[in-house]
Amino acid sequence: MKTYLRVLLLLFFCPAWSLGQGMVSESAVKAAFIYNFIKFVEWPANTLPTGHIRLCLVGHDDKLQVAIEQMVGKEAQGRILEIANVQRSDLPGNCQVLVISSNEDRVAEILRMVGEAPKLTISDAADFIDDHGMIGLNSVDHKVQFDINVNSARRAHLKISAQLLKLARRVVQ
C-alpha cells in the first residue's frame, strides 16, 4: 500500500527531470550526451585501441571543451576516455570520436577530410547530419536533442544502437 502510494505521489509531484531549470548548463548537457553517445556506437573490430578511447575536439568552444574535459577519465566501452585538441591540419588524426564545435565554419571540409575513416562525428552545428555528419546536437527551448545520420555512420563502418536511434529527434537513413 505504501509502495503504491509512493508511486502515486511520485507520479504527481515529481515530473520528469528536464533541462532549462537553470540547474545544469547546456554545454554540460551536451558533454554528457557526447559521452553517452560513445556507449551506443559499435566500432569495427580492431579499430578501437585497448585501454582508452580518444575524443578529439575541433574548433574553439571553450564552454564545451571545459564540459567535455569533465568527462575525461570516465569509462565507455570499457575504455578510459581521453581528450585531445586537434587542428584542422592534423585531420583525420588518431582519435575515435571527433567533436566539431558549432563555431567551426568549415565543417563540410573537415568531414570530407575524415572521409570514411571509422570515426564518430558529432557536432552542434546546424544541419550537421545533412552535411554527412553522424550525430547532430541542437537545443530547442533549452532542451538538448539530437539527430542521427545512419547512412554516414554506416559508410564509416560504425553501427549505432537502436536504443540511441529511438531517442533521436530525426534519423536519416
Partner: protein, 627 residues
C-alpha cells in the same frame, strides 16, 4: 466417552479412519498450498525479475539521456503484463524519470492474506555503472486466485477421497463386524431355542474365521454330547419302564395270590365259625366245653375279619373294587354307625357329641363310606380313655366339599408316627395291648375314600386326643327320597333266645349285619358265605329265621330257599330276601317265590327292625325311641 465406547465397532473404525484421513488431508492441503504459494511466488518474482531486466535494459538509454517520454513509452509496454500493477524509474540522483500504473490497480487485497502485492527493484546499468533503478509493483492476485482454486479443488478432491475412504472403512468394518454379528446372533438364537444343530458359515481365514471355526467345533461337541445324553436317557427310560412293569406284574401277582388265598380260607373259616356257634348253642354242652367253643368262635371270627380285610385291600389295590356312587345323607350313615358302636361306648362310659346333620350329604358309595366312618368311630372308641368323649363334627371346605371329623380324648398319636398308622398291619404297639384289631382299618379307610375321590387325614396331640377326618365332595339331599328318620334301635325282649342264619357272600355286608345284631344280645346271628355252608349249618341247628342274599355263588337265593323249603324244618321257616336288586319286578318275584319279606340294600335299620319284630314274635318285640 461412554457414548463413544458403546458405538458399534464399525462406526469406531469409520471414526478412526475419519480422524486419520482428516489429519492427513489437512496436512496435505496445507503443505500443497504452502508449496504452491512458494512456487508461484518464486515464479512470479522470477518473471517479474526477467521483465524488469528487459525493461531496465530498454530504458537504459532513455535514462542516460533523461528521455522521460521514451521511458514512459517503454514502461507502458507493461500493459501486457497484468501481474505488474505499477512501475517507476528513478535515476541515480534520486529523480523519478517515469512512472506507469494500471487503471485497475485500486482493487483491495484480501484482508486475511499476505500482502496482495510486493515490490521488486531492478538496477538500470550502463557500462557496469548503475544509472538508475526500476521499481516494479507486482500483484499477488493471480497467485491468490490460483491458490484459492487450488485449495477448492484439493478440498473437493479430498472430500471425495474421504467419502471413498469412509465407505472403504465401513466396508472393511463390515468384514470385521459382520462375522461377529452373525456369531452373536447365532449364539443368541441358540441360547433361546437350544438348537445346537446350527452352524455359522465361515468366509475368512483370519482371527475371526478361527473364532467362528472354534465356535462351530464347540457346537458340534455340545450336539454330540446332547445326542449321547438323549440315547442314555432313552435307554434309562426303557430300563425304568421295564423295571416298573416287572414290579407291577409282581404286585399284581401278589394281590392275586392274596385274594385267592383269602377266598380259599374264607369258606373253611365260615364252617368253623358256624359250627362252633351251633355247638355253643347246644344246651347239652357243659360249661367248660362251652367256653372252649366260644374261644374257637372268637379266634375264628378274628381270623375271618383278617382274611376279609386282606381280601378287601387286595381288591382295592388291584382296582377290582366296584363302587356305586350316590348321594349319601350324612345323618343316616352317622346314625347307623353310632347305633352299631353304642353298646361298646356305653360300656366304656364315653360321652358322644353329634351335631345336627340333616340336609347334609356327600357323594360316595354308601356301604364303603359307612365302613370307613365306622372304622374311625370304632377307633375313637377303642383308643379312648374311660369316661372320655367322642365328638363328631361337619365342616364345609373349599370347592364344595364336606369334612367329617371324628375327635376323641384318647392318648393321641406322636407326630412322627402319623404317617405310619395308615400303613397296613401297623398298630403302634396296640398289638401288645388287649385292644382288638388287625391294624388294617385305617389303610382300607384311606384307600376307600381316595378311590371315591376324597381324602383322609389326621391331627393329633399326645395325651390330649386325635381328630381323624374324611373329606368328600358335597351333594344335595333329595328331599323326596329321604326317608323319615325315626331314631330307633333293635330291642329284644329278655328271655327270648333264638338263632338267625344269614347267608351272604359279601364280607362287608356280613360284617355290617354282625355289628347290627351285636345290639340284640338275645338273637344269635350265624353267618354263612356260601349256600352249601348255610344249608349245612341250618341242618345242624335249624334257625328261627333265615336271611338270604339273592346273588350267591353256586346257586342263587331262590334256589336256596327252594332247598330250605324242601327240608322238614324249613317248611314254615320265615325267610327274608336281602338284595341289591331293587327293581319292582325283583321284589314281586321275591314275594311270589315264598319270601316273607324283601329288603333292598343298603339295609334300612328301621325296616329291618320292623320286619324282624313282625316275623320272629309278633307282639313280643317293640320299638323304642332312642335318646
Amino acid at each position: 466417552m461412554r457414548r463413544l465406547l458403546s458405538l458399534p465397532i464399525r462406526y469406531k473404525l469409520m471414526l478412526l479412519a475419519g480422524f486419520v484421513l482428516t489429519g492427513a488431508m489437512l496436512s496435505v492441503i496445507s503443505f500443497s498450498i504452502f508449496n504452491e504459494y512458494h512456487e508461484r511466488r518464486y515464479a512470479i518474482e522470477e518473471r517479474a525479475g526477467m521483465i524488469g531486466g528487459v525493461l531496465a535494459a530498454n530504458v537504459m538509454s532513455a535514462v542516460l539521456f533523461s528521455d522521460a517520454s521514451d521511458a514512459s513509452k517503454t514502461l507502458h509496454s507493461l500493459i501486457n503484463v497484468p501481474d505488474i500493477r505499477a512501475a517507476r524509474i528513478m535515476t541515480s540522483v534520486g529523480n523519478t524519470l517515469a512512472t506507469y500504473t494500471t487503471s485497475r490497480h485500486e482493487f483491495s487485497p484480501p484482508d486475511w492474506a499476505m500482502p496482495a502485492r510486493f515490490e521488486i527493484r531492478v538496477p538500470i546499468m550502463s557500462e557496469n555503472a548503475k544509472i538508475g533503478t526500476l521499481f516494479l509493483v507486482v500483484s499477488n492476485a493471480s497467485l491468490w486466485q490460483a491458490l484459492r482454486t487450488n485449495a477448492q479443488r484439493t478440498t473437493v478432491l479430498m472430500a471425495l477421497l474421504m467419502l471413498l475412504a469412509l465407505a472403504a472403512a465401513s466396508k472393511v468394518g463390515r468384514y470385521i463386524t459382520d462375522p461377529i454379528e452373525i456369531l452373536a446372533k447365532t449364539a443368541r438364537h441358540i441360547s433361546s431355542t437350544r438348537n445346537y444343530q446350527l452352524r455359522v458359515t465361515n468366509y475368512a481365514d483370519d482371527e475371526l474365521g478361527h473364532l467362528i471355526d472354534d465356535f462351530n467345533t464347540m457346537l458340534e461337541e455340545i450336539e454330540l454330547r446332547d445326542t449321547q445324553l438323549e440315547t442314555n436317557i432313552e435307554q434309562r427310560t426303557v430300563q425304568l419302564r421295564q423295571a416298573k412293569e416287572q414290579a407291577e406284574t409282581a404286585n399284581r401277582a401278589k394281590s392275586e395270590f392274596l385274594s385267592r388265598m383269602s377266598h380259599e380260607l374264607r369258606t373253611p373259616l365260615n364252617s368253623i365259625l358256624g359250627f362252633s356257634q351251633v355247638m355253643a348253642g347246644d344246651p347239652a354242652l357243659d360249661e367248660d366245653h362251652r367256653d372252649s367253643t366260644n374261644e374257637i368262635f372268637k379266634a375264628g371270627r378274628h381270623l375271618l375279619e383278617l382274611v376279609n380285610e386282606v381280601l378287601d385291600l387286595a381288591k382295592i389295590e388291584s382296582g377290582r373294587l366296584q363302587l356305586s356312587m350316590e348321594t349319601v345323607p350324612l345323618e343316616d350313615v352317622v346314625m347307623e354307625c353310632f347305633a352299631l358302636i353304642e353298646p361298646l361306648a356305653i360300656k366304656r362310659n364315653l360321652n358322644i357329641e353329634r351335631p345336627n346333620m340333616s340336609h347334609m350329604a356327600v357323594r360316595a358309595d354308601r356301604i364303603r363310606l359307612k365302613e370307613a366312618l365306622l372304622n374311625l368311630i370304632s377307633n375313637a372308641v377303642k383308643y379312648n380313655r374311660d369316661h372320655g368323649h367322642i365328638r363328631l363334627s361337619i365342616e364345609s371346605r373349599l370347592e364344595h366339599r364336606l369334612r367329617i371329623v371324628v375327635s376323641d380324648s384318647g392318648h393321641g398319636i406322636p407326630e412322627d408316627k402319623l404317617d405310619d398308622i395308615f400303613l397296613p398291619f401297623n398298630r403302634l404297639n396296640a398289638e401288645f395291648s388287649d385292644i382288638e384289631g388287625t391294624g388294617i382299618g385305617l389303610t382300607i379307610t384311606r384307600r376307600l375314600i381316595e378311590t371315591m375321590g376324597g381324602t383322609v387325614g389326621v391331627h393329633s396331640v399326645v395325651d390330649k386326643g386325635s381328630s381323624f377326618w374324611i373329606e368328600l365332595p358335597a351333594s344335595t339331599v333329595d328331599e323326596v327320597t329321604q326317608p323319615e328318620q325315626v331314631k330307633k334301635r333293635l330291642h329284644a325282649r329278655p328271655g327270648l333266645q333264638c338263632t338267625v342264619l344269614y347267608v351272604e357272600d359279601n364280607p362287608a355286608n356280613v360284617k355290617l349285619m354282625v355289628r347290627i345284631f351285636r345290639s340284640l344280645p338275645y338273637i344269635q346271628l350265624i353267618t354263612a358265605n356260601t349256600p352249601e355252608i348255610g344249608l349245612q349249618l341250618a341242618r345242624a341247628n335249624p334257625p328261627a329265621l333265615v336271611m338270604l342274599d339273592i346273588n350267591l355263588p353256586g346257586m342263587d337265593g331262590y334256589e336256596l330257599l327252594g332247598r330250605i323249603r324242601a327240608e322238614s324244618w324249613g317248611k314254615n321257616l320265615p325267610a327274608i330276601a336281602i338284595s341289591a336288586n331293587a327293581m319292582q319286578c325283583d321284589i314281586e318275584r321275591g314275594n311270589s317265590a315264598g319270601f316273607e319279606a324283601y329288603l333292598t340294600k343298603p339295609v334300612d335299620l328301621n325296616q329291618l327292625n320292623d320286619t324282624l319284630v313282625g316275623l320272629l314274635d309278633p307282639g313280643s318285640m317293640a320299638t323304642e325311641e332312642m335318646t
